[in-house]
């Protein structure tokens, strides 16, 4: 009898713990943002490993704070162009930000292993310019750990990022691909 009560109590306690764990806001500083631009002239790639992200399983709210100077290019000159006033002006706007919400949160079971494709509605701020975005992402739950991946296409002109003339204007694509991965 005592044993049954104890087991029942343990089961209840366990349920509460898992419930709490899934209700808590998740924080990730293990992230990867990849910027990829492709033109006939050349392919340009940059990587960023210092983004901080939060994901609230209860509400589906997602935030990414991206330190722009952490984008690392193969060539120093490209990196300098990227940071410059003409392009992303990272001294004035050191961070880019994505705030969003999973539109179809009911599709995701944070307590069950699986890969859940979701839609994220939100706002993206780059170079001090904010635009509404609708993106597809995948939430991956594995052994109680949550991860997110996504791929977004960013049209530079929407964020007032444009080289008027010279080499960068022909060698950087008008729309760049940004790949996101985060382990919470």
């Amino acid at each position: 009898m005592k044993k049954t009560i104890f087991t029942a109590l343990a089961a209840i306690a366990l349920t509460f713990t898992t419930f709490n764990a899934s209700a808590q806001k998740l924080v990730s500083s293990t992230t990867h943002f990849k910027f990829f631009s492709s033109t006939p002239a050349e392919n340009i790639e940059a990587n960023n490993y210092k983004t901080v992200s939060t994901l609230e399983p209860a509400t589906g709210e997602i935030v990414f704070s991206v330190p722009m100077q952490s984008f690392e290019f193969e060539k120093a000159l490209m990196q300098e162009h990227f940071n410059s006033k003409k392009f992303l002006d990272t001294k004035t706007n050191p961070k880019a930000k994505l705030t969003g919400k999973i539109a179809d949160l009911s599709k995701v079971n944070f307590t069950k292993d699986g890969s859940y494709p979701v839609d994220v509605d939100g706002e993206l701020t780059i170079n001090g310019v904010t635009n509404p975005v609708k993106e597809k992402a995948t939430i991956i739950v594995k052994n109680g750990k949550v991860a997110l991946t996504s791929k977004l296409n960013v049209t530079l002109d929407d964020y007032k990022i444009a080289f008027k003339s010279g080499k960068p204007s022909t060698n950087i694509a008008k729309t760049v691909e940004v790949t996101v991965e985060a382990n919470y």
Binding site: E72, L77, P94, T99
Partner: protein, 160 residues
């Protein structure tokens, strides 16, 4: 006639050399390798608390002081207590220096070349790390948490 020819020849050589030098400089600039932070002179030495608090007081002013328009921002040496050790997506070691009672710390990312130097560092150690600053500490309302100062291209300068 011969002197004219001579002058013409000299001018041609000068112009030719000029073109070659300009081309060489251009080619070098285009292929300039990434900045070698560890061989760049340190601009500032701080305790982790000092740079964190300077940013929390006035981030605009601190950005003006430390960030560079072309991304070649200030090189710092930060001394602090190791609060966390982790690894990023690029297999680079990340050491968080955070002094007790501080709202934020300094997150230092090493490189494939310097990772090994951080191998023996333990949580609680007092270390000095050199690297380039990428962004400052701030309270972010959307994240609803404090963000750390970010230092990259790090290496250990001193440990005990």
């Amino acid at each position: 006639m011969t002197t004219k020819k001579k002058i013409f020849k000299i001018v041609l050589i000068v112009i030719g050399t000029g073109i070659i030098i300009a081309g060489g400089v251009g080619y070098y600039m285009f292929n300039k390798p990434a900045r070698d932070v560890q061989n760049t002179e340190t601009d500032f030495n701080y305790q982790a608390s000092e740079i964190v608090n300077e940013y929390l007081m006035d981030s605009q002013k601190a950005n003006d002081k430390y960030l560079d328009e072309a991304g070649n921002s200030k090189v710092l040496e930060i001394t602090g207590t190791v609060a966390k050790i982790s690894t990023d997506f690029n297999s680079q070691t990340v050491i968080l220096l955070k002094d007790e009672g501080d709202k934020a710390g300094v997150s230092c990312t090493f490189t494939p070349e310097t990772n090994a130097n951080a191998e023996n560092i333990k949580i609680g150690d007092l270390v000095t790390i050199k690297g380039v600053i990428r962004s400052g500490a701030t309270f972010d309302e959307d994240l609803d948490m404090y963000e750390n100062v970010i230092i990259e291209k790090s290496d250990i300068v001193a440990s005990n």
